[in-house]
């Protein structure tokens, strides 16, 4: 059972996210997988995982854990409180040399323990003009380690316009979070083929750009 302050903080964050973005979810035909799965999404803002978390139905939300960089989310007291306590993030060390744990092992054991993951396979926030950065290989190694896990593509649109990098005041804009049908790794699938397939499935969810034609 979570402590009261973290529950209260989670409620405040969800309400704030809804007030600013009026976020709406679009679900796939067959609904979301009911067993633990990996939601993998495009990444352009620190608020991305908050939006995914906000729209998930409560029973799925409670076990969803964002995968995030330990450096950022352990930086200050507030980051630690939000990242680790409120959202129970799986914190992985970006810097290979300073790692004490293997990120793939960390993620796999979270799934084994009954959690779902919210993962950003681009590895970093996308500040470029490209709609998606090339995926890092982590999601491939995770899929190899747990080949029967469902991988659900999630496209988050507009949040980068709400709060572009370096701005401190969010602009209220309507955001949409679109969930796709779950994928799985095929037996013996090549890494590049797999990553290409995952990226294509995610891009297929991105709407035609309206407004914000940057």
């Amino acid at each position: 059972m979570k402590a009261l302050p973290t529950k209260a903080a989670a409620t405040v964050i969800v309400l704030f996210a809804r007030a600013v973005t009026a976020v709406r979810a679009v679900w796939p035909e067959g609904g979301l997988p009911s067993r633990p799965c990996v939601y993998y999404a495009n990444h352009s803002s620190h608020g991305d995982f908050v939006l995914v978390w906000t729209v998930l139905p409560p029973r799925l939300r409670h076990r969803a854990r964002p995968v995030a960089g330990a450096e950022y989310w352990l930086k200050s007291w507030l980051n630690r409180f939000i990242g680790r306590d409120v959202f129970n993030a799986v914190l992985i060390a970006r810097d290979r040399d300073k790692r004490t744990e293997d990120p793939v092992t960390q993620m796999a054991s979270a799934i084994d323990a009954g959690s779902s993951l919210i993962l950003f396979p681009e590895g970093t926030r996308n500040q470029s003009d490209a709609r998606l950065l090339p995926f890092k290989s982590g999601i491939f190694h995770l899929a190899m380690a747990r080949p029967d896990v469902d991988l659900v593509p999630v496209w988050i649109s507009n949040l980068n316009r709400v709060m572009p990098k370096g701005e401190i005041v969010p602009i209220p804009l309507i955001c949409t979070v679109t969930f796709g049908s779950a994928l799985q790794i095929a037996p013996g699938e090549d890494k590049d083929v797999f990553l290409e397939r995952m990226q294509a499935a995610l891009l297929a969810l991105s709407p035609n750009i309206v407004g914000g034609g940057e």
């Binding site: 507009n158 572009p164 005041v169 209220p172 804009l173 309507i174 309206v210």
Partner: protein, 315 residues
């Protein structure tokens, strides 16, 4: 004052009666034609009726809460409408502060001015001050890419969602001799006539509609729906003269102006949606699309209704 209250109660009873009848019809249609939710038109109708209940109850609560309640309700409507509008326009990083100012400075000031009943500054704050200051905020970032398009779209968003929309609660500030304390009924008159006109155009169109009136803008609108809707809503407006300061004929003429402005407002807003490649402005209200989808006609008729009433009837 007691006259206003009893008129309001009569009106509320009437609206609830209409909604109850509509709900019963919707329920019967659903049982007959769409027992498992397969008939899209019936499902859409029922979603609309449900949303109507919510809207009527919200407006009712705002009326009970008085002037502050109405101002807060429309302030939030402006905020949500602006959010829908800005979502669809061209913005760049350089507009960030101008947009933040639109939401967090312009909207509160416009409604504060209404609260303070400062009509002089209220009526020019957005057309003059925001018009000049917003592009200045944008230009300071030095990004000239599509500059004119960007600043024009932000100004249009403010005019429609904030300036025009705020003329609905502005009706409360009118000082009409012999009508003291009853201004809230002017809002009821405007909203009822406009919204019924929308509904009746839809109903007449479904019943008799053959000739499309604006096939490229709004394929569902028909000449028959337009004529039937405007005439019947104008007649209803005439019949509501007793809640207004107008004589029956005057109420009818104003209702005609309101419904025509509402119709053409709907066309203009449809054209913008087509241009932006979307079907609805948003999805705030189930069955109604976004807030602007429901407010478009009110927004176009409110300022005209306000000014005609102010010019001919107000002190």
């Amino acid at each position: 004052m007691s006259g206003a209250n009893s008129d309001l109660m009569t009106l509320v009873a009437g609206i609830f009666g209409v909604l109850i009848v509509a709900s019963v019809i919707g329920y019967i249609l659903q049982q007959r034609l769409s027992p498992n939710g397969s008939n899209a038109a019936v499902e859409n109708l029922n979603a609309r009726i449900k949303a109507w209940w919510v809207m009527v109850i919200l407006i009712g609560i705002a009326f009970i809460a008085g002037r502050i309640g109405v101002l807060i309700l429309f302030g939030f409507c402006s905020f949500a409408a602006l959010r829908e509008f800005v979502t669809l326009i061209n913005t760049r990083r350089a507009d960030h502060w101008a947009l933040a100012a639109a939401f967090f400075v312009v909207v509160p000031i416009q409604y504060f001015l209404l609260w303070a009943e400062q009509y002089g500054i209220f009526s020019i704050f957005i057309p003059v001050y925001a018009f000049l200051l917003m592009p200045i905020i944008s230009v300071l970032r030095g990004d000239t890419e599509r500059f004119l398009v960007r600043i024009a779209e932000v100004q249009w968003a403010l005019m429609i969602c904030v300036f025009c929309a705020s003329h609905v609660p502005a009706l409360l500030t009118l000082k009409i001799p012999g009508y003291e304390g009853r201004n809230v009924l002017l809002i009821a008159f405007l909203v009822i006539v406009v919204q019924l006109s929308d509904v009746l155009q839809y109903v007449w169109g479904k019943l008799l509609g053959r000739t499309k009136i604006a096939p490229r803008l709004s394929p569902s609108k028909t000449v028959e729906g337009f004529v039937g809707g405007i005439i019947s809503a104008t007649l209803i407006g005439t019949g509501l003269w007793w809640i207004t300061p107008f004589a029956p004929l005057q109420a009818g003429l104003l209702a005609l102006v309101i419904t025509l402005m509402g119709f053409f407002g709907g066309l203009v807003m449809s054209a913008i949606k087509r241009d932006r490649g979307v079907k609805d402005w948003g999805n705030l209200i189930e069955g109604h699309g976004g807030l602007i989808d429901r407010l478009d006609s009110v927004v176009f008729s409110a300022p005209i209704f306000f000014h005609l009433t102010r010019y001919w009837w107000s002190l």
